[in-house]
Amino acid sequence: MTALSIQNLKKTYNNGFVALKGVDLDVQRGDFFALLGPNGAGKSTLIGIISSLVNKTSGSVSIFGHDLDKDNVAAKTCIGVVPQEVNFNQFETSMSVVMNQAGYYGIPRKQALQRTEQCLRQMELWDKRDVVSRRLSGGMKRRLMIARAMVHSPRLLILDEPTAGVDIEIRRSMWEMMQDVNKQGTTIILTTHYLEEAESLCRNIAIINNGQIVEKSAMSSLLSRLQTDHFVLDIARPLTQAPLIDGCEIVLSADTVLDVAVPKSHGLNRLFQALSEQHIEVLSLRNKSNRLEQLFLDLVQ
């Protein structure tokens, strides 16, 4: 079953700006799906329509088989949305923000209290439950929005740039939280400008540009299109200049760290053989995490 099915979705704003030019998109149940695109590509409009915050011009959206127009209540019940910007009442406590949202979904008070505690604990905010929400840090506010979005146990969670502007430590902990939520069976759609985030978390990807989907595939098959692999090698002894190896591009990024671009046709054995001949001992190797960046730029430019 598809978690989200969008057909020929179009949106023209009152000022004549065409934000979506006929989007078709399917997201499978249980997926961790990346929706990427440059600023102004139509991501926020698309998410706005799915979340009933923006009126569409034409087309259809269905969520777990429920048409957003004809079966509005069932469709909305399936979704939780974490927006880009803080949109809760900042004069209320964290607890009230989540409890009110549970109330809007018709969850009786006793059950709502249990779910609120569960969600705030999961987002490590339980000890902040009585704190007025405007006093929370930026990272906590984002986690509060995730807790609020999850209080009615949605089957589809839409995260619109959830880690924008948060430090790396909080970002990593939010990644773990998102992965946990996905493992528990919730389908996740993630938009982000951090391409390494999409690469490490998501199984499938769509790229939107100028109001159209320009790429839709599994993350692995998209990455397999790369003709060159980028690796980071930690070496045993410091170097003063990068070694020269035919067919590879090597940059000495620190005295014991090499950034290596290896064409797929070249192969790693030849690389290691050449390094060994130059008496360079490799201690460890890892993928450079921004492989998606070049593909993304190729698709949207």
């Binding site: 704003y13 409009t45 706005g48 979340s51 009933s52 915050l53 923006v54 009126n55 509005n72 209540v73 069932a74 909305k76 019940t77 979704i79 949305v81 927006p83 910007e85 949109n87 809760f88 009442n89 900042q90 009230s96 009110n100 949202q101 109330g103 809007y104 979904y105 018709g106 969850i107 009786p108 008070r109 609020r148 009615h152």
Partner: protein, 254 residues
């Protein structure tokens, strides 16, 4: 889906909001109306004598109570719903499966609650100056609640169209306050000269104030049936308009 939970969530949130900021919402009407009763009712009123067979103080009490109900039921909804739009937490309601009529009912009942509470506070203050007995409880209570409903709806529509905080103060300052003062709070329209009586009868607030005055002290310048018909008609019209605006997403959705 149990919409009563969503309704009570909005209503309780609204009541908590205006009770949390009681020095801004409940205290000022108590002070202002105490001054009205002291200056107009007591100091000046004692020199005026009887109006329609009752003391001037007793004559102005119903109008002052209803004027407070009008302004506070209106301002509660207009400021609360506009803030909800301005801070974007209207999105919490729009993403959830809450029907438009539940959103409207929640905010309007919040406005009614504040209008009624302020009305009761003002009525309590009036007891410090006079001991008016209420002649027709049913009529007074019905006008009290219907008036609060009508102006809470009007406040909601104002908030939907408002684009700035200026927009939410224009109607209360330049429309509601003058219409209330000209609606016979402090005088009987029978005192107005010829043509002004006809002009005053175009003011809907005149009908509500007089109907409420009839409920309290049995005196009115207008037909009570006409006052109820007019109030009911406005409520139906404003309810339909509010629901249409919500359905179209005007001022709320892109």
């Amino acid at each position: 889906m149990n919409y009563s939970v969503a309704f009570s969530t909005i209503l309780i949130k609204e009541i908590r909001r205006f009770t949390r900021i009681w020095p801004q919402t409940l205290l000022p009407p108590a002070i202002t109306t105490a001054l009205y009763f002291l200056i107009f009712g007591k100091l000046i009123g004692d020199r005026i004598g009887l109006v329609h067979g009752v003391s001037y103080m007793d004559y102005i009490v119903p109008g002052i109570i209803l004027m407070s109900v009008i302004s506070h039921s209106y301002s509660n909804v207009v400021s609360s719903f506009y803030s909800t739009k301005f801070q974007r937490h209207i999105e919490e309601l729009l993403v959830a499966p809450v029907p438009n009529y539940v959103i409207l009912a929640g905010y309007v009942c919040g406005g009614i609650a504040r209008g009624v509470l302020v009305g009761v506070v003002v009525a309590g203050i009036s007891m410090m100056f006079t001991h008016t007995t209420i002649l027709h409880w049913d009529i007074a209570a019905a006008v009290f609640v219907l008036t609060a409903t009508l102006f809470a709806l009007a406040g909601f529509i104002n908030a939907v169209f408002a684009d700035s905080f200026d927009d939410i103060s224009i109607i209360p300052n330049f429309v509601l306050t003058p219409l209330s003062y000209l609606g016979g709070v402090f005088y009987s329209v029978a005192m107005l000269p010829g043509i002004w009586q006809k002009i005053a009868q175009a003011n809907p607030i005149l009908y509500m104030i007089n109907a409420f005055r009839y409920g309290m002290i049995g005196v009115s310048d207008v037909q009570i049936e006409l006052a109820f018909a007019m109030t009911g008609g406005f409520i139906l019209f404003l309810t339909a308009l509010s629901l249409l605006l919500l359905h179209k997403g005007i001022g709320i959705k892109n």
